[in-house]
Symmetry: C2
DNA sequence: ATACGGTCCGTACCATACTACGGAGTCAAG
DNA sequence: CTTGACTCCGTAGTATGGTACGGACCGTAT
């Protein structure tokens, strides 16, 4: 185990350093999220250490709710000299609006479920359960 | 179009009345969410009108954030005489906890994105974008 | 020199919830 | 009795984000 991030790394080293699996690295390459690295004569991928950073970038963006498709766009924006920081901010703002929509939907679900559980004593057979009854109602909401 | 929900309905009538596609009805049957209906000699499914209700039940539960797997359990609870209303309430409460987890995650995402957009003037090239920089940082959070 | 682990590739598979397709048979209206 | 809409079935495809497999080859430590 010669640890030196100086020249080039194998796919396993990159995956390990970035905290993902080897298969995930190959998957990101196939999906165009990660540049195809040069190969050794044997066919082994040779990664520059910056590849680890790229993968961490992907992970962070994913944590912020971006899909891989959106992350691909983000990475493209970064490379394209015609785009500005405002283009990136637009993406971030769109994602915030996106999240707001999901928050609203979840809050509504939650309120409906809370209402239902409040109506349910917890005793009695399921045939008299107000929760199931509510789901079963013909005309509702 | 003889509309009479008196005896039995075809799959198309059921799907239409419930607001789903024919394929969805067959899908729910395959997935065990919908009882297999009797057939006519030709093989055509013959649905009792209550099937429409069952599908609407599924739709409402889905709207509340239950997965088809969870809905299958909910339907099983209803049929099993040993289960009580409390069992159903437990499911609902677990789903609320579930939703709370998602809400928290989304709120955190949102806050992080808002922070990033605040740091971004919108002007300048992407090479100087604080949002992309933040995603790219080696040591972070 | 050989063994063991890493890497190669293509393909298939996981879960979720459907949706589409093709070819044959059926039903009902005109 | 013909026509057009509906239904049958099994299989395959959609999108998302990976994970797993298998057989062959590579690299290095002993």
């Amino acid at each position: 185990m010669t640890e030196a991030a100086l020249e080039s790394m194998t796919i396993g080293q990159v995956a390990n350093a970035a905290g993902v699996g080897v298969e995930t690295v190959r998957f990101y390459e196939r999906e165009g999220l990660l540049a195809k690295p040069p190969r050794r004569p044997s066919g082994y991928r040779q990664y520059p250490p910056v590849a680890v950073r790229r993968i961490r970038f992907i992970k962070r963006a994913k944590d912020l709710g971006f899909t891989l498709g959106e992350i691909r766009e983000l990475l493209a924006l970064r490379v394209d000299p015609r785009t500005t920081c405002g283009d990136v901010r637009d993406r971030a703002e769109a994602k915030i609006a996106d999240i707001d929509g999901k928050l609203l939907a979840l809050q509504r679900m939650r309120a409906a479920l809370v209402d239902l559980t409040k109506a349910c004593s917890g005793r009695g057979p399921t045939s008299e359960c107000p929760i199931l009854d509510a789901l079963d109602e013909e005309e509702d909401r």
